[in-house]
């Protein structure tokens, strides 16, 4: 019998998210280690079948499309229902999901229903040779520890952290089948309804896409000081972000929060100003190509992870740095 690994992909209103390809990459790694295993991407959304070929190119052996207008990015419950039916009927060995809003809700609920365990927020996997040998690797204690966990139960269910797995390069020559699911989505329970969606005017480049992020923490001292970061970000073509301390103080919006409970970002440069470098913050920037820190405290943990560091008061360092950048830019 072929072992199936289900990879959860939700493409609801938007294009296929990068997280879908990351989950696929993890599923592929496990399948290849097990040998006789097949990766089935379960693609949820409304009229999203066009993404099926992309999923195949990135590692899926089969794409199961579940199409319905109810399947939006806010509707975990019907997706949970679909996965439960699939799992009961077809007994896959594993289900992998992204560690986001949907994955975070569906994963434990599905595990409970199938009488299995669930591991969330994995940064790695040691697949062994069969489903009962898998060890899931995940950070705990704000990144100060790394745990290896095994799931006891009939099915391996896990979520993978954003940016922990690199999507496989697309191979257009890869073959795979596309199958439409016969599950009646309309008949599935959906207790939670969206009554309103409010969108603020977003300013600047989204953090996930920014090549340069200028980020401020408690050390900025006040909301109005963020104009200096904005000025620098505009000059360098980057985005402004902040630590939890800055977000809680209202200096930056929740959308701009970087870290374990905020955005996980992967810019070319992450400039941390007045940020101590708490593990919960650092876990959001682990994939940054280079981290530059400005901090008065030479013992600040941020310098443990930073590639370039300046020990000093940002009030003096930053204006000089900004002016020098302006000059360098001006001079080409």
């Amino acid at each position: 019998m072929v072992t199936d690994i289900l990879a959860f992909c939700a493409a609801a209103e938007h294009e296929l998210p990068r997280s879908a390809l990351e989950v696929l990459a993890c599923a592929r790694q496990v399948a290849d280690a097990w040998g006789e295993a097949r990766v089935r991407a379960v693609l949820f959304g409304n009229n999203v079948a066009s993404h099926a070929q992309t999923l195949i190119a990135h590692g899926a052996d089969q794409v199961l499309t579940v199409n319905h207008p109810r399947l939006t990015s806010q509707a975990a419950e019907p997706m949970l229902g679909v996965l439960e039916q699939l799992a009961r009927a077809e007994r896959p060995a594993a289900v992998l999901l992204p560690n986001d809003l949907l994955g975070g809700e569906i994963t434990p609920r599905l595990a409970w229903r199938l009488d299995s365990g669930a591991v969330t927020d994995c940064i790695g996997v040691e697949p062994g040779r069969s489903p009962d040998e898998v060890r899931w690797v995940r950070p705990t204690h704000g990144g100060k520890a790394v745990a290896r966990m095994t799931i006891i139960g009939p099915i391996q269910i896990a979520t993978v952290r954003s940016r922990a797995f690199e999507p496989r390069p697309a191979d257009p020559a890869r073959a795979g089948e596309v199958v439409a699911s016969a599950i009646d989505v309309k008949a599935l329970p959906n207790n939670v309804t969206v009554v309103d969606e409010v969108t603020h005017e977003s300013e600047g480049i989204p953090l996930e896409q920014a090549q340069i992020i200028v980020s401020g923490g408690r050390g900025m001292g006040d909301a109005k000081e963020f104009v200096h970061l904005r000025k620098l970000a505009d000059l360098l073509g980057g985005a402004v972000a902040g630590s939890r301390a800055a977000a809680d103080a209202g200096w930056v919006s929740h959308d701009q929060l970087v870290g374990q409970t905020g955005k996980i970002v992967a810019p070319k440069v992450y400039l941390a100003v007045g940020i101590s470098g708490a593990p919960q913050h650092m876990s959001g920037i682990i994939s940054a190509k280079s981290i530059v820190a400005i901090n008065t405290d030479e013992e600040a943990p941020i310098f443990k992870a930073a590639h370039l560091g300046v020990v000093g008061d940002w009030r003096e360092v930053l204006p000089a740095f900004t002016a020098a950048c302006e000059q360098l830019r001006g001079g080409g």
Binding site: G142, A145, G309, V310, V317
Partner: protein
Amino acid sequence: MHIVVCVKQIINPDTPAHLFQLDPQTKKQIRGSQPLVISIFDEIAVEVALQFRDKDKSATVSALSLGETEAGETLHHAQGMGAGPAFLLSDPAFADLDAFGRAHVLAAALRKIGETTPVDLVLCGQQAGDVELGVTGPYLAEALGWPMVALASNIVPASEGRIRFTRPREGGYAVLEAPLPCVATITNDQSNVPRYPSILGIRKAMKTQLPVWAAADLSLDRNLLAPEAARLNLTAIETARRESHCEFIPGQSAKEKGEHLAQRMRELKLI
């Protein structure tokens, strides 16, 4: 409206990395001289419940914790913030449970609390500040058979028998509605920064008798407490290694360092 907030007591999550130690036997963090605190998202969940009660004075906010005797302090903290009744679940039989077992115990306690005052809403933190699994809220929804809303940041009143939540999302927020009773997991945003507990409130709470329930006080299948009931096994845990490769930018003054930083970043083609 009766809201029960599940609050966990954890070792200070801001324990500096050089003081962070694991016990190889128990695979748990060694407390050392670190304080025990209320898990950060649970404190936020208490705040969210209290903000609702600030608007609807008839609401009751209870706090529930599973832990050792010291976890009573965390319940007092919640009461100092303004929570009413508090319940502690403590029994050596609970000590080694995994998240699955803990959820069974919490669910049994919620049923028991509901016998006196029916529970309309259970709030859990997005994730505990130590193990960070984020599974307990969804587990409770399943154990109780209630709907759930994940990662809400605030409660909004709705029509009879229903409840609304705001949920932050990219570039804004969504308002979701669910029937009561239900479970929600709580995340942070600008609207729910926890209030400070009043010292007077904590003192008052310390004077009242805290109900402590053991396994025998709950109607709970004892098999669920057996090691074989576990669904997760922590096979290994180690402290994360971080080597420092930081290149410190030299300079006579902070201003000069700023200039040198720009030059160095240009050399490295970072800007």
